[in-house]
Symmetry: C2
Subunit: 336 residues, 2 copies
């Protein structure tokens, strides 16, 4: 038995003008929708994450309390479960999978909630990392239907430096001749491992490595961590799926559409949700200074950095103290 459901969205025309045929959005819900349908929360997924990776905040008595809320976790396109380069039939498969934006995803999530559950309004939209990018987009594109917003270690628009960081990741992956322009026969092992070793320096902070926090995860040395955790993680990922989501990430801009025409301040100013933006205090690719700029453009927003040495991983499931800090913010915001 799969642990998820599938929303068959049929053919959809993407922002790029291409049509994604037989579009599938995998999702999982937790808790019960009430009769007023006013207890829905959307908890978007991160880069290469699935609905399973979001369970760390969900449960009876947790911040996303299944006794009170109906929590929708939709899988981001390109994650290997929802429509992805790896599971789409020719001719739009693999290296020919079309470019998909955050807004394309959000519109599909909106349809899923409306068509399957009749949900129009969200009590809260939230997410970590690329999940935060989706939550921001929700709040800007459906401002009257998103009451609250929590963006954890993510941005409303990908910063130029973040874009450059991702250029490096792509270059490391695709330097491997076995990548073959996306038409690989076997996984491009060297490229996947190189990308993993490059990512390792970005995702966790200087202090994390200085304090050897990886030993708490059972890794006996730095090299053991680089191979055992990082290379192991990336070897389980499909190269084209990652490149698909990196494209989505790099082009994230909640104003890049026919509503806001690239007017970022206008789009940010349109957000009506009560908002808490929670960068990791030591995040190297979604730094607090970027979040501070974005908070200044939202009407009712608070900047609340996560006081953590876990770099970008602060606010993910990695560190219990950070999770508790995030849960506290969610509880506060939901009580208003």
């Amino acid at each position: 038995m799969p642990d998820f459901s599938i929303f068959n969205a049929g053919p959809i025309v993407l922002q790029s003008g291409l049509t994604l045929r037989d579009t599938k959005i995998v999702y999982k819900t937790h808790g019960q929708l009430n009769t007023k349908k006013d207890n829905a929360i959307l908890f978007a997924t991160r880069f290469y994450g699935t609905h399973r990776d979001n369970e760390y905040l969900i449960g009876p008595g947790r911040a996303l309390d299944t006794n009170r809320y109906f929590i929708m976790v939709p899988d981001l396109i390109g994650n290997g479960l929802s429509s992805s380069p790896s599971n789409t039939p020719p001719p739009f498969d693999r290296a020919r999978f079309p470019d998909v934006t955050i807004l394309d995803n959000v519109r599909l999530q909106r349809r899923l909630l409306l068509e399957v559950f009749g949900v129009e309004r969200l009590a809260l939209a939230l997410g970590w990392s690329m999940g935060a990018q989706q939550a921001f987009q929700w709040a800007a594109i459906y401002p009257s239907d998103v009451e609250r917003l929590i963006a954890i270690a993510g941005s409303a628009r990908t910063s130029p430096h973040n874009f450059v960081f991702l250029e490096g990741m792509k270059a490391a992956l695709t330097a491997d001749v076995d990548w073959r322009g996306g038409w690989y026969i076997n996984p491009p092992q060297r490229g996947l491992r190189a990308m993993a070793r490059c990512w390792a320096g970005w995702a966790l902070s200087q202090a994390y490595y200085r304090q050897q926090c990886y030993k708490d995860w059972g890794y006996s040395s730095l090299e053991d961590f680089l191979v055992g955790f990082w290379e192991g993680l990336f070897l389980n990922r499909d190269a084209n799926n990652m490149l698909c989501q990196i494209w989505t990430w790099q082009h994230c801009d909640l104003s890049a559409n026919e509503i806001y025409f690239g007017d970022f301040e206008l789009a940010m100013g349109a957000i009506r949700a009560k908002t808490i933006v929670m960068p990791g205090a030591t995040d190297l690719y979604f730094p607090s200074e970027d979040s501070a700029i974005e908070v200044s453009l939202i009407k009712q927003a608070e900047l609340r950095p996560i006081p953590s040495i876990w770099g970008h991983y602060a606010g993910g499931a990695a560190n219990p103290l950070d999770v508790a800090f995030v849960e506290q913010a969610i509880r506060e915001l939901l009580s208003t």
Copy 2:
């Protein structure tokens, strides 16, 4: 006419136990040694830098004033001019070039100064980045012969996070099948370009990219900068030479020798030089927090971060405001 001299150091036994035969250290001097031989300054070179890259602080009336000081700029082993994988004859050439430490370099620089110039004491040892690593090593290994020390955007020991950053760079370079384990026939273009794109995110800060400072250098867009500056820079570099110097960099630890036996605090405590440590305030791989830790271990040291958005490039030749800030510190220290 070459713009440099060569110190033929003969065969030397390295810390690794291997012998580097016919060792050559390229160097350039500026200004005149006085009769007391007490006006010598050692200005060490950075990763893949040469003596030419250090001219930005040297000249009549500059902080390193050629009217007053005798300035020695020795080229780091592996830079393509001093003994390097690219210029050493078989069988110790290319991928078989032996591992060389910062201390191996410093001992050769000491011999050069003594044997060619009769210089025993330094009025100042300084350097940027890997140059700072050499300056730290000088001050710890010859404490009574280094009066002053300025370490710009560098460390006495490579931090674990900095080590991980370099692991990523190596992995990106060597993911290219054309690298052939170091026995490349043609330069590994994809690997060099991948490494360049990865390095681009590390060397300059989030704010640098946000403010598009690359436009001041004549690059018309972000991609123009990534190809025109970064890929262009790395295509001119020899892969084995870079890997040689990265090994040196990763293993930098001024206590990793038979004097201090890895007792880092002892080695730092041995430094007698009046010291100013100048991290770039936004440096992502030699962050100020690491410098603060190192400063706390030195008897007479001041932490003076360079208030700059130029990331690691602060303190290099890139930005005139940063250069002026560094020159001010040099002048102050030399006047004591």
